[in-house]
Subunit: 415 residues, 2 copies
Amino acid sequence: MQAEIITIGDEILIGQIVDTNSAWIAEQLNLNGIRLHQITSISDDEEHIYHTLESIHSKTKLVLMTGGLGPTKDDITKQTLARYFKTELKFHEPTHEHVKQLFARFNIEMTETNRKQAELPENCAILTNNYGTAPGMWFERDGIVYVSMPGVPYEMKKLVENEVMPRVKKHFRTPAIIHRTVLTQGIGESFLADKIEDWENSLGTEGIKLAYLPSPGVVRLRLSIWGDNETDLQQRIDKKIKELQEIIPQYIYGFEKEKFEKIVGKLLRDRKQTLSTAESCTGGRISHLITSVPGSSEYFMGGVVSYSYKSKEDLLEVKKETLEKHGAVSEETVIEMAQGCKKRFNTDYAISVSGIAGPGGGMEGKPVGTVWMALASPNGVKTKKFTFGDNRERNIIRSSLAALNMLRKEILEQD
Amino acid sequence: MQAEIITIGDEILIGQIVDTNSAWIAEQLNLNGIRLHQITSISDDEEHIYHTLESIHSKTKLVLMTGGLGPTKDDITKQTLARYFKTELKFHEPTHEHVKQLFARFNIEMTETNRKQAELPENCAILTNNYGTAPGMWFERDGIVYVSMPGVPYEMKKLVENEVMPRVKKHFRTPAIIHRTVLTQGIGESFLADKIEDWENSLGTEGIKLAYLPSPGVVRLRLSIWGDNETDLQQRIDKKIKELQEIIPQYIYGFEKEKFEKIVGKLLRDRKQTLSTAESCTGGRISHLITSVPGSSEYFMGGVVSYSYKSKEDLLEVKKETLEKHGAVSEETVIEMAQGCKKRFNTDYAISVSGIAGPGGGMEGKPVGTVWMALASPNGVKTKKFTFGDNRERNIIRSSLAALNMLRKEILEQD
């Protein structure tokens, strides 16, 4: 079953708002096994809307439209739909009653403009919008269903959940579809592709499609499979994921939409263990990530952002000689930072990071992007060196993820 | 001048990512006076890409494509473009060199897959992508320009700014257009609108359009003017901005794309003054913002993320009695945090923040969203209390911006 989304409204085309509606609807379609062929964002223009409706793909059976249903003059979706479906706008008494009640509830007087919200195309089914004045409209023609909904995210979502999806499932027979996402850290897209080439080539015979979704420090691998027998599909995809886990166990940190900071937080909470951080080049980014998770105060005791030699000495007990002899960006310094931090906050784990985030500050033997990190744990201290690029923002992001991954692996190893 | 955007990639169609690229490009086009006719999001499918290229509107002169340029098998944009423009992929030595250098810089060996990034359509101009392996491609046919770019947001943005837009401006005749953005903090959109109503009404006679662009903690006001005489346009818009500065001086913290953390950093650097931070509910977000600015180690000495009572006592010398009597989220505690921090890091200024970020943790008299902050300066300590909402992420963002604004105002006051 194939669907299309048409988003109507100038605000997206001038870049004033990001089209989060389409992403949300796309996810709902996907979860319901409906393939989304295309998203088209167009302006509040009658000919443009009309032409877009005429141009839908020959295999499309469901067209979901949002926007252009407000009471003001620039919104002309309703009129255009009436023309497209060769019908007239007619006053719809139940909608009028609903709008009246909405206004009464907020103690606002209804204007003539609001009354127009009840003028609706004659040949569509009206989907009640409990949260706003513009109802949804369900048209059927030549085996294709067209649904028009308001663009206000909250109203649209409720309509999709309560009205549109239940009707769509009843109207169409939809195949089962399963997606799984594997989250990897610490390896670039192309190296990953080389490492899993044989495995990737074997996916085709199982009818599984693979997509690489890279972002700084993380590559997500998405597997998709379609068919009739959901149990069978699930088994086929599970088998392949198990195989992948054996090929690259060290790079996989999670699945689906899990966040790194949440995964690490759960590991700590489950073990009743605690964490502290000593950050130099990441400047508080790691503690910011960790504390973005609700309830993180259970396992995160605090951190030090030591941006000067003096603060490394005073707060983390890094020796003056160590700093003078090896510099702030060195294995020796991060070890003392992690140990000092662990002691200071009295935690099970302490992460320390020191590096040259850039774009300036590189030196002989330590180019911009050089990052040292250490992890003090109940079993001693481990260190790791990275060589990232010269983009400050990316270096901070990648260092933070690498530190969290180092911690994640260590916690699991100590089990 | 009319443009279209084509976004290629399955991840948008299954709702896995939100299409922020298109919103960003749409804004750039709008700022340059180019009308965006349509955004089309399609899958990594050769026929679909081909058909979409064939279906662009008859008035469209510029087609901007993103995505599908990775080295892996699911990316087929390049091959499709070669077919559409009736040409072959050819090995492009400068791109190969560039990719090689990128890999050499990171001390990584190049694979066969990476080598393929240098196979490019013969009849396009290559736009160097300094930040990744897939270059941009500029095609011209029948008076229409087609540009293909990678979908990685920061690579795409750099390409648009440094390569695509300068070429587009040269290639097409675009009218003079000037935008100025005024950045405000500490006042909501509707309150701002009430305060500047008369000024806003006077913009029409000058041919200036105003847009409110709200985001958590900040409202940007964008003024736009079109015409032939750039000097005249500049003068008209400057005059209005001067007027605005007299109406709401306390809320304006900067202009254009200036970042709060950069503005504050410059104030400190110019005065050779230093800063430290003591964060509880913001969890390192403030120090992360400050240290995201290159060169911030000149004025930022460091910070403490005190997520526990004990760390507030040990690292910031907050008295046990103060915490017990008034709690961590109190005026008394933030005062001691700021004073302890200032002393500990020996800085001119110290910011402290303590609050209930949520979603849980509210209590009698201190609902979720209650945030206290203090600023210790050479002239003593000032405090401020805020009551934000119950959204953790927004509370952290808004608290951080409010703290930076408090600092900014204090530095200026001490001049």
